[in-house]
């Protein structure tokens, strides 16, 4: 703890007087919303709020080292706890630095409330010092945003922001507060005392007729599949339980998007692994050949569908989503149900039982036989080595050595992220935090800090790449300051591996600017920050060193030197269908993708 924080905080004035400054309204509003932790960075335009925080022992402020770190930390906190993440930053560069994480939260539907300072009202529009059009710039990357012009509106806006961020399809909400509004006095009103002026009212309960029809369709299916996504995680742990119950009733296999990992247990025999571009052979083929697809809380993202006109051509599609605009956006579905994943799943279970439905056992036996044939292809197999650490092996060992422990995984973006998704096995929701929709390098370390704050006694590991980790490495200093013993497990291949892989596949092996040159000595870097550094390049020593990492009570950087040019497979190349995967044993990888596929991302 720093000297500053050991200064005795005075208790907030406990008077009936509800008249207070805008800054005090903000702090009081956060407390009344149940906020315990916020991630921030001070500056001129938020100093009144920082002043109000000084006297508020109920809010723990985590001082990050870059505002992007604050947003990702808030995401990790939110994703692992189900509570909204809260961010406080200053105007101008403070706000723009936060934008990447705000966009990331929008793409992955993470509940987040961002408070930005703004120059005083009378200076808005004058190009004042650190003035930026924050609401203008964040309009398209927030679920909603506000510029507060009058302190009298502030209590309502704060409470409404939390409601909008956390209900319906969750997302980031930004409140831009000019400095004079922070100083102005106004009357505080609590969450129950404000009336929303907006018509915002997301629909959570699904249409009962459609649910009954869905139950019928699933019961009649011969080759059903559940395609599940982050919406189930967002719907809360109960939704994951309901998914398990309903899947068991129907006997259908379950696959999931990157964002949905953990909603269904990897240990369950019905689990097919992840689907999509780097999904398993069995999951993608089952998606392609199914006759009834039940999509729950996923959005037919292009990483998942592959070639659209060849996407699961013979199936009837049921789509359960809380966001009406996700329906028929990329893929036309036969039966849309708008509602909360958990609520609709519960209703589906009830409809299944009420309708006296039974799964078609004979058809399912054939379906599972087919799936077992696909499984026998062992799509994740890789060539083992006794001399170099294979990246897949490193994840496998990390998984085995942390199994049964209370562990949370975050990732950066690249091959290591996909290997983590393929080889780390999740049994529970909220244990896996990754940047899916946005693919933001630099996400993993700050996200891990947020997770560790929400789960102080747990083991939190950021599975990283040597390139990604350098994007928010400064947050290691935050980890030290707040005693957050996160473990950074770098699969160091000295390449922006995912870029190198695409260049090999798509660009004639012209490795343009994808080599990670001039890398720091990660062990010394760890030590420079006051963390523990470990290096390993020998498969025989890997287990011992992973245990050393787990058993350290400090933050750790683990520089795991892996095979440099390993490719992440299997893979659906751009422009191909689910049943046209490149497998690990492909001969000529440079010629798999045709000219049309090269134009896609």
């Amino acid at each position: 703890m720093t000297a500053h924080q050991t200064i005795e905080s005075k208790a907030p004035p406990q008077t009936d007087d509800r008249t207070m400054t805008g800054a005090e309204i903000v702090v009081r509003g956060l407390v009344d919303q149940g906020v315990e932790v916020l991630f921030g960075y001070p500056g001129g335009a938020v100093l009144p709020i920082y002043d109000a925080l000084f006297h508020e022992p109920r809010l723990q402020h985590i001082l990050v080292r870059h505002e992007q770190g604050a947003t990702h930390a808030a995401e990790g906190y939110a994703r692992s706890s189900g509570k909204p993440g809260v961010v406080l930053v200053t105007s101008g560069p403070g706000a723009t630095n936060a934008i990447t994480g705000i966009m990331d939260a929008l793409m992955d539907s993470i509940p987040m409330v961002v408070i930005t300072g703004q120059v005083p009202t009378h200076l808005i529009g004058t190009d004042a010092f650190q003035e930026a059009d924050t609401v203008g710039m964040t309009r398209s990357c927030t679920k909603h945003n506000y510029l507060v012009k009058d302190v009298r509106d502030l209590p309502q806006i704060i409470h409404e922001a939390f409601k909008i961020a956390t209900t319906g399809r969750p997302g980031p909400v930004l409140i831009d507060i000019p400095k004079d509004v922070q100083f102005a006095k106004g009357e505080y009103r609590g969450p129950g005392e404000v009336a929303s002026t907006h018509a915002y009212a997301p629909r959570t309960k699904g249409d009962q007729n459609r649910i009954a029809e869905a139950a019928r369709m699933i019961a009649q299916a011969r080759r059903p599949i559940f395609y599940t996504g982050g919406g189930i995680i967002n719907a809360g742990p109960k939704a994951s339980q309901s998914l398990r119950e309903f899947a068991a009733l129907t006997g259908a296999p379950v696959t999931s998007t990157l964002m949905g990992l953990g909603a269904f247990p990897a240990a369950d025999p019905a689990w097919l692994g992840m689907l999509g571009m780097h999904g398993t052979f069995e999951a993608n083929n089952a998606m392609h050949d199914c006759d009834v697809m039940v999509c729950i809380g996923a959005r037919f993202d292009d990483r998942v569908t592959g070639r659209l006109d060849a996407f699961s051509p013979g199936s009837k599609k049921i789509h359960i989503d809380i966001d009406a605009s996700s329906i028929n956006k990329n893929v036309r579905v036969d039966l849309p149900i708008i509602g909360d994943a958990g609520s609709v799943l519960d209703d589906l279970i009830a409809a299944w039982k009420a309708g006296g439905h039974e799964a078609n056992k004979a058809a399912l036996t054939d379906w599972w036989a087919q799936i077992d044939a696909w499984r026998a292809r062992r799509c994740l197999a890789y060539r083992p080595s006794e001399t170099v650490i294979k990246p897949q092996y490193a994840i496998e060992r990390l998984y085995e050595l942390t199994k049964g422990k209370d562990v949370y995984i975050t990732t950066e973006v690249g091959q290591h992220q996909m290997w983590a998704a393929q080889f780390f096995r999740f049994e529970e929701p909220n244990r896996w935090m990754t940047s899916g929709g946005a693919g933001t390098m630099g996400y993993g370390l700050p996200a891990a800090l947020g997770v560790q704050l929400a789960h102080p006694g747990s083991l939190v590991v950021d599975i990283a790449g040597e390139a990604s980790i350098q994007m928010c490495i400064q947050e290691l200093s935050t980890a030290i300051q707040f005693d957050l013993p996160v473990k950074i497990f770098i699969l160091n291949n000295e390449w922006m591996g995912m870029v190198r892989q695409w260049q090999q596949l798509l660009h004639g092996e012209r490795y343009s600017h994808s080599y990670s040159d001039s890398l720091p000595d990660f062990v010394k870097l760890a030590e420079a920050y006051g963390a523990h550094g470990i290096r390993c390049d020998d498969p025989a020593q890997l287990d011992a060193k992973i245990l050393e990492m787990i058993n350290s009570d400090k933050p750790v950087i683990f520089d795991c030197r892996v095979e440099k040019t390993e490719n992440c497979l299997p893979m659906i190349p751009s422009g191909k269908a689910h049943n046209e995967m490149i497998m690990g044993d492909v001969e000529d990888i440079g010629n798999v993708i045709d000219a049309a596929g090269r134009g896609l991302v």
């Binding site: 309009r139 679920k143 907006h198 915002y200 990329n330 596929g597 896609l600």
Partner: protein, 182 residues
């Protein structure tokens, strides 16, 4: 154009569906920035705006009405409607084009310059269209015309060879027939 079938979501625009015009009436909160949210949504997602009108409609209820005319395939129009419904400040979205009770009207000011027979012909056609001259010089008229957008288009087609020099249109306004309000 593109004779290949779409290979990914990025080729969605290449699908062969016919485009149509649609008019959406939006009831929105009357707050700064709301128009930007709506227009920004169109810009960000690559939708076209063919006409746009906005004005406050109820000061006490704090609402404005936006009427936006756009083009797209049925699939894109459904997506636009769903996206508009997601904007927190949008209270209601009404697809006027699909509503048999929808009424659409527009007003235009049309300046026509000409002499002799052309001038007489312009005035005669204006009468047929119930367009009202609001300004006259010896060699020009300014007509005010209102009606369905297609009627105005027709009128303009006829005025063009007679000396159309300037045009100002309000964009489409719409309302539903019958007793119910939006």
């Amino acid at each position: 154009m593109n004779n290949q079938t779409p290979a990914s979501a990025y080729d969605m625009a290449a699908t062969e569906e016919a485009e149509q015009t649609a008019t959406f009436a939006l009831l929105v909160d009357n707050e700064p920035g709301v128009l930007h949210r709506v227009v920004g949504l169109f810009a960000a997602r690559g939708y076209n705006i063919e006409s746009l009108t906005v004005a406050e409609t109820d000061r006490k209820a704090h609402t404005s009405r936006i009427t936006v005319v756009t083009r797209g395939t049925r699939h894109v129009l459904d997506q636009i409607e769903a996206q508009l419904n997601k904007v927190v400040n949008v209270r209601r979205v009404h697809d006027v084009t699909r509503d048999p009770n929808g009424v659409e009207r527009e007003l235009a000011l049309v300046k026509v310059r000409g002499q002799g027979v052309d001038r007489v012909e312009a005035l005669r056609i204006a009468e047929i269209f119930r367009a009202k001259p609001v300004d006259t010089t010896l060699e020009s008229f300014v007509f005010e015309i209102s009606g369905a957008p297609s009627k105005i288009d027709k009128f303009l087609d006829l005025m063009r060879p007679l000396g159309l020099v300037e045009l100002s249109r309000t964009g489409v306004l719409s309302i539903e027939r019958g007793v119910e309000g939006m």
